[in-house]
Symmetry: C2
C-alpha cells in the first residue's frame, strides 16, 4: 500500500510536469476552435475561373503562399514569417465584424471600433503574452506602415485582381466598379512591390482594353 502511494505520488508529479502547460494549451485550443468560423465568412470575390465565392480561410491560405512565393519582389527586405502571420490572421476579426467589400463606399474599411473589439475578444482567448503579440501584428498590418505590412497588403490587393481578370471582370462588373476606383485601390500594391505593381498595372490596363473593366 505504501508502495502504491509512492507510485501514485510519482505519477501525480509526472502528470503535473507533463501538464505544466495545460492552462496555456487549453486557451490555445479555445482559440483554434473559435477561428474555425473564418471558414464560413464569404468574400465578394470568386475563386479563379469560377462562380463560387471564396471564404476568408481559403483567401488567407492563398495570401500566405503568395507571400512565400513572391517575397523576392518586395521593395524592402522583409521578415517573411511576420508577413505570413499577418495574412493568416488579418481577417479573423471578421468573425465578429463581418467582411467589408473593398469598393463599399458606405463603410469604413479598417480599424473600426468593431474590429478592435473583435481583435481583443478573439485574440484575447489566447494566453496573455500571445494575445498581445497577435493583436500587435494585426494592428501593424492595419496601419500598413512597416515593410512587412506593406508587402502583406500588396498580397491582399493582388489576389482579387488576379481573380477578377480570370473571371471576365468578376466583382468589377458585378458591382459596376470603374477603372479609376480599381487603379486607386490597387495602387497600394506599389508600396510593397514595384515589380508586382507594374504587373498589376498592366493587368488593369489590359482589362480596360478587353472591355471587362469600364474606362471611367
Amino acid at each position: 500500500m505504501i508502495k502504491d502511494q509512492v507510485f501514485c505520488n510519482f505519477t501525480g508529479l509526472l502528470h503535473n510536469i507533463l501538464y505544466m502547460n495545460t492552462t496555456a494549451l487549453l486557451d490555445q485550443i479555445a482559440f483554434i476552435k473559435e477561428i474555425d468560423k473564418v471558414k464560413y465568412i464569404q468574400r465578394k470575390t470568386k475563386l479563379f475561373n469560377s462562380d463560387r465565392n471564396e471564404n476568408d480561410a481559403e483567401h488567407s491560405w492563398h495570401l500566405a503562399l503568395m507571400a512565400i512565393v513572391l517575397a523576392e519582389h518586395s521593395n524592402e527586405p522583409i521578415d517573411v514569417l511576420k508577413v505570413v502571420k499577418m495574412v493568416l490572421i488579418h481577417d479573423i476579426v471578421e468573425i465578429d465584424a463581418g467582411d467589408v467589400f473593398l469598393y463599399d463606399t458606405q463603410v469604413n474599411h479598417s480599424n473600426s471600433d468593431e474590429e478592435r473589439l473583435a481583435a481583443n475578444r478573439i485574440f484575447g482567448l489566447l494566453p496573455k503574452k500571445q494575445a498581445e503579440d497577435m493583436i500587435a501584428i494585426w494592428e501593424e498590418f492595419e496601419a500598413g506602415e512597416t515593410n512587412e505590412a506593406k508587402f502583406a497588403k500588396s498580397m491582399d490587393r493582388l489576389e482579387p485582381l488576379l481573380q477578377n481578370t480570370s473571371n471576365n471582370g468578376g466583382t468589377w462588373k458585378e458591382f459596376d466598379v470603374p477603372y479609376k476606383k480599381v487603379f486607386e485601390k490597387k495602387s497600394v500594391i506599389k508600396e510593397g512591390s514595384t515589380t508586382l505593381w507594374n504587373y498589376a498595372e498592366d493587368l488593369i490596363n489590359e482589362s480596360v482594353a478587353n472591355g471587362i473593366l469600364k474606362n471611367e
Copy 2:
C-alpha cells in the same frame, strides 16, 4: 524625332530594368493560379460542430495557425516558418493525386508515385530554384524525420481529432473506425509534442468513455 527615339530607348531600358524579374514572376503567377484548385478538394472530416466538409485550403490555413500558436509545445526547437511552409503546401499534390482518407486500408498514404509526379508537375511551375526548394520541403514533411516535419505532422493529426470530438464522433462513427486504429494513427502526435499527445490521448480516452469512439 531623335528626341523621341532617345526617350523611347530610355523608357525601353527602364521597362527592362523594372521587368527584370518578369519571367520568374510569370512562373510564380502560374503556380499561384494553379493552386487555387486546392480549394475544391474535399476532405472526409467536417468543420467544427458542423456537417460541412472541410477543404484542403481551409485545412492548411488552420494547421498553419495551429503551428504558430502551439509552437512552444514542440519537443524540440523548430524553425516555425519551415513548419508553416510544410503545412501550407502539404496537400497541394492532391490536386493531381486526390485526398486519401487517413483510415483508408486500400491506398498507400504517402509518397506514392502519383504524389511525386504531382509534386514535380505543380511545384515545377515555379522558377527552378524555388521549385526545388518546395519539393524538398514537401519531401521532408512526407519523410517525417526532422523536428519540423514531426511537429507539422502533429498538427495534421491533431486538427481532425479536435473536429471529430466536436462532431459527436464525426468520421470515426461515419466510417466505423475503432479506438485501436485511432490511437495508433494519432500517436504520431507524440513525435512532435509530448504535451499535445497527452492532451490528445485524454481526448481519445474521453471519446471512448462518452461512447463516440468504439472500444475495439
